[in-house]
């Protein structure tokens, strides 16, 4: 049999459509499978547009196979009284199952004798089962934001408009809130509104295509991409086609038709980033470029009906108005030299208690310079100090007020126009990157240090005033900032956490006093938590990751390499013994002097000293696996030590000396990771 289900809506939010359609078809398939209705040659198909989610299942059985159901009742002891009559327990069981007690069988089992109900259950029809499944799956679809739209109806992203549900051409008996299933669909809202009757999956596609709707999303997507490319090529131009934009446009039309429009050439004076942001983000247009990569005074857009000439004229008017605004703002902004905008920053608050943007620009200048020096790049400090001082000036420009997504980008462009050096301009533009989880990092060290300074200043400031994220709420974007910082840090391995955080906290000393000094203690665990999440996302064993994090994150860029080294080293029986010895050492360790050791103590001391010595070299070479393998050699002397001496000796000085020795041994063992934490006992 063939099932077709279409949920019709007024326009759904674009990002939610394809996942919901997949969920619909998967849910129905799973329900059919669980009910034993999937035939051997079943097939599924999924369709979606802004106004519909549709699933088709072919190859369904008409009815579940009949089966034998067996239910165990009470034990015979409990079921029969001394006269052999049925007890209340037996009568109750029979009543519950809807049979008379005489119909129950007696059966021996390994647990004793029981009453059993054995009956043939007739398989239910696909019609009944799939009607239930459609109602249940509709209720269980996930959407990021839903609404109440009718009494006793499931929450959905928009009110359900219609429900097409046919099993081999027969309407299924389903009601979702006030909507009863039927055999009609609706096509393009304006070009062929409907209702249109549907017989089954085959003519469903024909009806919709005749009605100016392309229901196959993958096909519609390739139509969008192909039409835009072709329209651009016809003008001798190349379309800039961001992936996100293609997806969004695909989910904004049912019947895509591309067209090319133009704008006045004078607007090309505005920096490219502004033109692209206006076209892509605000109008969902594809920018067009000449073959040598320059922006043309043209755009490509996709319409969903209407008369091409009318729609083009309208879109051109709207774009012209936006670009006129942008050009006006751009000219206004350029009336002052870029650096002269800086005083205006003192009138813009960064955040309550964290001063103005001017204060922040002073912090960024100092911090970026300090990071450069701490990372051994003194040569970059002057550029970064200048860039930090000017990095926020674009917040005082009209263009960035209008188009906030251009923060940073415009700063770089205006700095260049304002006669700042190229290096300074690039560092200013780099400050805001990466914008999101998979956005690219800045290209050069100066840019990455600038961006890192930005995130450290943010983290230290907000965590110092206790504004960290709670649950899913992260109003100041600190998790994203921390992930950005970690990614940036991977490119500056020489930079230690302690000097970096001290420099960042120093910037807040005047504003926050003691809270600033304590902030690094809050930032460390926050970064560690993000490191843990990041390592787990990439499939690393959380115990291994925890062990590495416990031995410190002074060089965040090294954490991942230490994890990988530990994964390689932590194998085999010797390793298990070493972990146990490390744990024993840790439990007994106490800092102190180790003078006066003799015998097994002295042997261990020599081995520890040798490990410390050689280990320094291995760590300097970042040979973490080498270190761990070398450290494993400490097992035997440790083992001999534990066998030969009693650590908790009566005499205070002996006990203290032995504990101090274990302290050094444990410290030497846990340079790469707190291996004691890998013990099964913990």
């Amino acid at each position: 049999m063939e099932l077709i289900v279409e949920l019709g809506f007024p326009e759904l939010p674009s990002g939610t459509i394809a996942p919901a359609a997949d969920e619909l078809v998967q849910g129905l398939r799973a329900a059919a499978e669980a009910a034993g209705l999937l035939g051997e040659d079943w097939r599924a198909a999924v369709y979606s547009t802004p106004r519909r989610l549709c699933a088709v299942l072919e190859g369904l059985r008409g009815r579940q196979p009949d089966r034998i159901q067996e239910v165990r009742g009470p034990s015979l002891k409990a079921a029969l009284d001394k006269d052999g009559g049925f007890t209340q327990a037996a009568l109750g069981f029979a009543r519950g199952q809807g049979v008379s007690p005489e119909q129950l069988e007696r059966r021996e089992t390994p647990q004793g004798a029981y009453l059993y109900l054995r009956r043939e259950v007739e398989g239910r029809s696909a019609r009944e089962l799939m009607a239930e499944a459609v109602a249940a799956v509709t209720r269980s679809l996930h959407f990021p934001r839903t609404m109440r739209w009718a009494k006793d109806a499931p929450r959905l992203p928009r009110p359900l408009g219609w429900l097409l549900a046919l099993l081999d051409g027969e309407v299924l008996p389903i009601e979702v809130g006030p909507i009863a299933a039927g055999r009609v669909t609706y096509a393009h809202r304006v070009l062929a509104p409907g209702p249109h009757a549907v017989q089954g999956a085959q003519d469903y596609l024909e009806v919709l295509r005749r009605g100016f709707v392309e229901p196959d999303r993958a096909l519609r997507r390739s139509q969008v991409a192909g039409m835009v490319q072709a329209a651009a090529a016809a003008e001798g131009l190349v379309a800039e086609m961001p992936q996100d934009l293609i997806e969004e446009v695909t989910d904004l039309c049912e019947w895509p038709q591309a067209f090319v429009g133009s704008f006045a050439a004078e607007y090309l004076d505005v920096p490219d980033a502004v033109l692209v942001a206006t076209m892509v983000h605000h109008q969902r247009f594809f920018p067009l470029r000449t073959r040598d990569g320059r922006l043309a005074a043209r755009f490509c857009a996709v319409r969903n009906g209407g008369d091409e000439a009318v729609v083009r004229r309208g879109n051109e008017t709207v774009l012209a108005a936006r670009l006129a605004d942008a050009l006006f703002f751009y000219r206004e902004d350029r009336k002052q030299a870029f650096a002269e905008l800086r005083p205006a920053l003192s009138g813009i608050a960064y955040a309550p208690r964290l001063g103005s943007l001017y204060d922040r620009s002073e912090r960024l200048a100092k911090l970026a310079g300090a990071l450069a020096r701490a990372a051994g790049r003194d040569d970059l400090a002057p550029v970064l100090e200048r860039a930090g001082a000017l990095a926020l000036c674009d917040r005082a420009t009209a263009l960035v007020r209008e188009l906030p997504e251009l923060e940073g980008t415009m700063g770089g462009a205006y700095a260049r126009l304002g006669g700042e050096g190229e290096a300074v301009a690039q560092a200013i533009a780099a400050r805001v990157r990466p914008r999101g989880g998979d956005d690219e990092l800045p290209e050069d060290d100066a840019g990455r240090l600038m961006a890192l300074a930005d995130r450290l200043d943010q983290l230290v400031g907000f965590l110092a005033i206790g504004k960290g994220p709670t649950g899913s709420q992260d109003p100041f974007g600190l998790r994203r900032a921390a992930i950005g910082a970690i990614r940036l840090w991977e490119t500056v391995p020489e930079l230690g956490l302690t000097p970096a955080l001290a420099a960042a906290a120093g910037g807040y000393r005047d504003l926050l006093g003691a809270a600033a000094a304590e902030a690094p203690d809050a930032v460390r665990p926050f970064l560690a938590a993000r490191l843990l999440a990041r390592a787990q996302e990439t499939g690393h064993d959380p115990r291994i990751v925890q062990a590495v994090l416990q031995s410190g994150i002074e060089y965040p860029s090294e954490v991942m390499r230490r994890i990988e080294a530990l994964e390689q080293a932590a194998q085999g029986e010797t390793w298990t013994l070493l972990v146990q010895a490390a744990r024993r050492a840790k439990n007994l360790a106490k800092e102190g002097g180790t003078e006066g050791a003799e015998g097994a103590e002295r042997d261990l001391l020599q081995e520890v000293a040798a490990l410390e010595e050689e280990g320094r070299l291995l760590l300097a070479r970042r040979d973490y696996l080498g270190y761990l393998r070398r450290a494993a050699g400490l097992f035997e002397p440790l083992d001999r030590f534990f066998a030969a001496v009693m650590v908790m000796a009566e005499e205070d000085d002996v006990r203290a000396r032995r504990q101090a020795l274990l302290y050094r041994a444990h410290r030497a063992l846990s340079q790469v990771a707190e291996i004691a934490a890998l013990s099964a006992a913990e």
Binding site: E11, R189, L252, N304, G306, A324, A349, P352
Partner: protein, 288 residues
């Protein structure tokens, strides 16, 4: 405007009038705010002048105004063919959906000062946003069981678009008379006042006074009177904010103070309607 009024009157709407207390959006008119609440059906359409101090641009920006006009429609419960009805209203003002590309693009709406939010779209005609279309979910902090839908047309923009001019001040209102001739000086003055000259202390005192009076009126059970003062508070807050007198940290607190007033008025309104047995239920044939 006349064409919209005619269209929505034919759809059974009461053609209301602007409410004579300053406000930031047509939703704040009691014809929408109160009547969205409870199970009674309701259909209304009216023009609402909306003051938004933060959008003031001294009469120099072609699209931004201190005071713009909304054409506001509220249909409750939401009719199943509401989008088709809406397209019909566009045709009535000369925007035939067969010629134009009309899109419904996700845009959810929230008015924290009213304790209100909804789900919906901004409507684009050939790439221009001309309408906000919202299914209300909450009003005055109260969840809505009967679904109202609000359609808000941006009148200046639509008129400019229909007349084919890029600047709202260039709209010809009577042959020979432009919109700018009428409102430019007013726009300039309100911009100057809101951004530069408004007396912060006076506005703060007024806010407190209005908040107090709203509470007093509510204690007497006078929710319409109380709500007027809530509207005053809301407008004063907007001016204070444009004037830069409210630190970001205080913002939430001010909003909460206004919302509390709105919630109190909404609860009193509902109690009153309930005591009267929700008298409009089933009474107007055109609303069924």
């Amino acid at each position: 405007m006349l064409a919209l009024a005619r269209f929505w009157a034919d759809a059974g709407c009461y053609i209301g009038q602007p409410y004579d207390v300053e406000k930031g959006a047509g939703t704040m008119n009691p014809l929408t705010f109160f009547r969205s609440l409870g199970p009674e059906p309701w259909r209304v359409a009216y023009v609402e002048p909306s003051r938004r101090p933060a959008d003031a641009r001294f009469g120099e920006n072609p699209n931004r105004l201190y005071k713009h006009h909304q054409y506001q429609v509220l249909l409750k419960p939401c009719p199943a063919n509401v989008q088709e009805l809406y397209l019909g209203s566009l045709a009535a003002i000369g925007l035939d959906a067969k010629l134009h590309d009309v899109r419904f693009v996700e845009d959810n709406w929230e008015a924290p000062t009213l304790g209100a939010w909804g789900i919906g779209w901004e409507v684009w005609v050939d790439g221009m946003e001309i309408t906000q279309f919202t299914y209300f979910q909450q009003m005055g902090g109260i969840e809505l069981d009967v679904l109202p839908v609000e359609i808000t047309y941006g009148l200046e923009r639509i008129t400019a678009y229909v007349q084919g001019v890029e600047n709202v001040f260039d709209v010809e209102v009577v042959p020979g008379l432009k919109y700018g001739d009428i409102v430019r000086r007013e726009e300039y003055e309100h911009s100057a006042y809101s951004f530069l000259h408004a007396d912060k202390d006076y506005l703060m005192r007024s806010f407190q006074g209005a908040q107090e009076e709203a509470r007093r009126a509510a204690e007497e059970g006078l929710f319409f009177a109380s709500y007027d003062h809530v509207l005053h508070c809301s407008h004063l807050f907007n001016v204070l904010e444009a004037r830069g007198a409210i630190a970001p940290a205080q913002r939430t607190e001010y909003i909460a103070r206004i919302r509390d007033g709105a919630r109190r008025a909404a609860e009193l309104y509902l109690q009153d309607r309930e005591a009267k047995g929700f008298p409009l239920t089933g009474r107007v044939a055109a609303w069924n």
